[in-house]
Amino acid sequence: MSDRIEYDLLLVGGSPSNLTLAYRFLQLAKDSGKDFSIAILEKGKEFGSHILSGAVSNPHVIQKIFPDYKEKGMPIEAVCNDSNMSVLGMEKKWDIPKKLYPKTFDKTGYLVLTLSHVTNWLANQVQALAKDVPNVTVDLFTGFAAHSVAFEEGKVVGVSVSEEPQSEEDYVYGKITCFGDKGFISREVIDQYKLRDCQQIWSVGVKEVWQLDEKAENVEGKVWHTLGYPLIDGTFGGGFVYGMKDKKLTIGMVISLDSADPNMNPQQKLQDYKKHPFIQKMIEGGKLLKYGAALLPEGGYYSLPKKFYVPGAILLGDALGVLNVKNLAGIDRAMECGYVGAKVAFDALIKGDTSEAALAPYQQQLEDSFVIKESYNDRYFRWAFIENPKLLGQYLPDMVKSIDKSSPWMGMLKIGFKNPLGATKDGIRSLGLIEGKLDIGPIKYKPDFTHIVPDFVKPKYDEPKYDKATIYSRADAVFFAGTKYHEGNRHIDEFNADTCVKCISKYDKLGKDTPCVSDCTAEVHRVDVIDDLKKHGMSLENCVHCRTCEIVCPEVNLRVKPTSQGSGPDFIGL
């Protein structure tokens, strides 16, 4: 029984990147005449249950792998036929003329997707294709997470599938291990080989799916990306609203975790967003179907690991950090990683060489593809807003006011008048960075939590009028994330309880909650008063695995780990 279980390819995470890799590998191996084995580990109870995205996506990579994706029944919610970039005031909305914003924000012709459904479909496609390729065995393991990476002689050889591995029984090995996770486990590889020069920075996406009232206007295929309300405190981020078929609507926000506000509360920001008349009008009489939250790696080019491969392993998708903020795109990039990775892994296995050198073409080919090329072009996009906090902290709020009171054009004039020289100068430099024309060399992000200003004063504003029935408290919203945990689950580590006590007392004195309590998207972190001492407590059964708490903890005192046996949220439908 204690023989090693070893596969040729061990895929960690049932992600679009890994599933694409598996599918492409099957295509390549079909006529090779050689036998291969593939295992895919997915921590969710089914493929897609722990994955969440906007999502409006360019189908160019899907087309490469599935030229007949429509016939194969890929779940598509809508094809974007009306793409808008808008700035929200408190009351009004201004659709920016197409000429004034980067064309990467124009999503016309792209697919509106429910990524959980697409992921599930991908897993089914892999299974179906595997039946036609008898020389490759594919084992799909749902409910099994990788808990730690196994290294042997400087090489990644596999992962442990138990929280506390005791014996050989608790490991599974791979000649090549492919990490397509969201950093839960691949960070061990990045740390072990010291692959990072520059910090990864994160934002959190919160999303709701609504069933609109029968009488509501049909908005299928309409896509809005918005700036402004309710993010008028200098925090980077925006909202999105996608019209789907069967009168369903996606409403979400992506909010950077480098916010100065220690009590940013992404879930409540999403509720504020929904209070805007533009959204209120759509969801009136509707019904909330699902809620969920997930992190997005936003660092881009400079946050990429130095190497995309290590001996015996490659990193894909979010494990790598190929998401492109300026393109509002990640899925196609992740899938491209899988597409490229499959060929490199196939060649390496044919040669029987899984060393670093054999996997190096993976990075070269990605660097030659749109994935890294575009990432390089947009390398300063995110930085432009960090470097000059005025863009979002001053100019945008001014603009937001003008949209309600006069017109956006007046807003621009006002910004010009108020800062006669500054605004123009800022504008030219920032535009240079955003467009990638100005080169300022490598940049280094600071960890997100270092941007927190404990005594931050929130800007005050009058809320728009809204229907209370459309707004959900955080505790109520969790219900719609379908979380379910097995008994005895403890997947968030708190390293030092005293550190939490001190942190709580510090924020208490300022009349605020700690960042973990307020920014949690699912009512997990709480303050317990025990013997008159305020201590940090956790309602882990609510957790949706977004990992926001870990990123915003000012004391770096929390760590979110993968769960066992399919515990966690059920994001199917998001």
């Binding site: 279980i5 109520d476 005895g488």
Partner: protein
């Protein structure tokens, strides 16, 4: 007991509570629409069966009745470490009530063999009757320990602790015996990766799989179809009413201690009038 115990565990596939099962016009549950899972109560029974095997030796057989997809939960049982499984699947069983179900299961159990111990969950999450276990014991002519939350075996005797209102009761019975396992029993342990790996291999080989999961029908187990299914079920579902949508308002109460929290809740609601203390 040199040959070890012959242990049966009865399991059922039920609609996943997380997915919204529809209701048929006749008031029964539309199972086709719902996602499926192993009845949560059966997880405790399965654990008890595995414990019995681990501590006292023997063999565990899982037995289920349901449409062909119920094979999924039997595979799950194999992953957890049961030795083999039996699925009673027959179209004529559709719409069986507890009387008809217990009868069909009784015949199936007799077909499978002579058990020393039969474990059942308390009830299922779809029917919630808690009748099938006890009915089966009656039909088999076995003593039963219901609501059992702990047990040990000495010689041929089972010492069980069962929950009763206001406390617990210690009972002793001889084997063979049927036990319905309370959900205060040890929760089902995580399945091992090895187990899942083995079952993956098995599931790929249909011939091999048949050695582990045996599908039987009414004719094979010798059950009279007249006594099963709709015909054999005296129960009539008069009507099913939907009592509102699930979901609602949830408020988090925070404070000094449980006592404080309870007082807060009482103060804020009209519960005080029902308080005796």
């Amino acid at each position: 007991m040199s040959s070890g115990l012959n242990i049966f565990v009865l399991v059922k596939q039920v609609p996943d509570q997380g997915s919204k099962a529809g209701i048929n016009p006749d008031g029964t549950i539309d199972r086709a629409k719902a996602k499926r899972m192993l009845n949560p109560f059966d997880r405790f029974a399965l654990q008890a069966a595995l414990h019995a095997k681990k501590n006292y030796g023997g063999k565990v057989s899982a037995i289920s009745m349901g449409p062909p997809p119920a094979v999924e939960i039997l595979l799950e049982c194999l992953e957890h470490g049961v030795d083999d499984a039996y699925l009673l699947s027959d179209r004529r069983l559709a719409a069986s009530d507890t009387l008809a179900t217990a009868f069909a299961l009784f015949k199936t159990v007799a077909h499978v063999g002579k058990p020393d111990l039969v474990f059942c969950g308390l009830q299922t999450t779809d029917g919630d009757t808690a009748q099938v276990g006890p009915q089966l014991a009656e039909r088999m002519g076995l003593p039963q320990i219901t609501y059992c939350e702990d047990f040990s075996i000495e010689g041929n005797k089972v010492h069980g602790r069962r929950i009763i209102e206001g406390g617990y009761q210690k009972v002793v019975s001889e084997m063979p015996l049927l036990i319905t396992v309370a959900n205060s029993y040890h929760p089902l342990e995580y399945k091992s990766f090895r187990g899942a790996w083995r079952v993956q291999r098995l599931a790929r080989n249909e011939e091999e799989l048949k050695k582990y999961i045996h599908t039987v029908d009414l004719d094979l187990v010798g059950a009279d179809p007249e006594r099963t299914g709709l015909k054999g079920s005296p129960t009539i579902v008069a009507a099913t009413e939907k009592v509102g949508e699930i979901g609602g308002n949830c408020r988090m109460h925070e404070g000094q201690s449980i006592d404080h929290l309870v007082k807060d809740v009482v103060k804020e609601t009209n519960l005080a009038q029902f308080m005796t203390v």
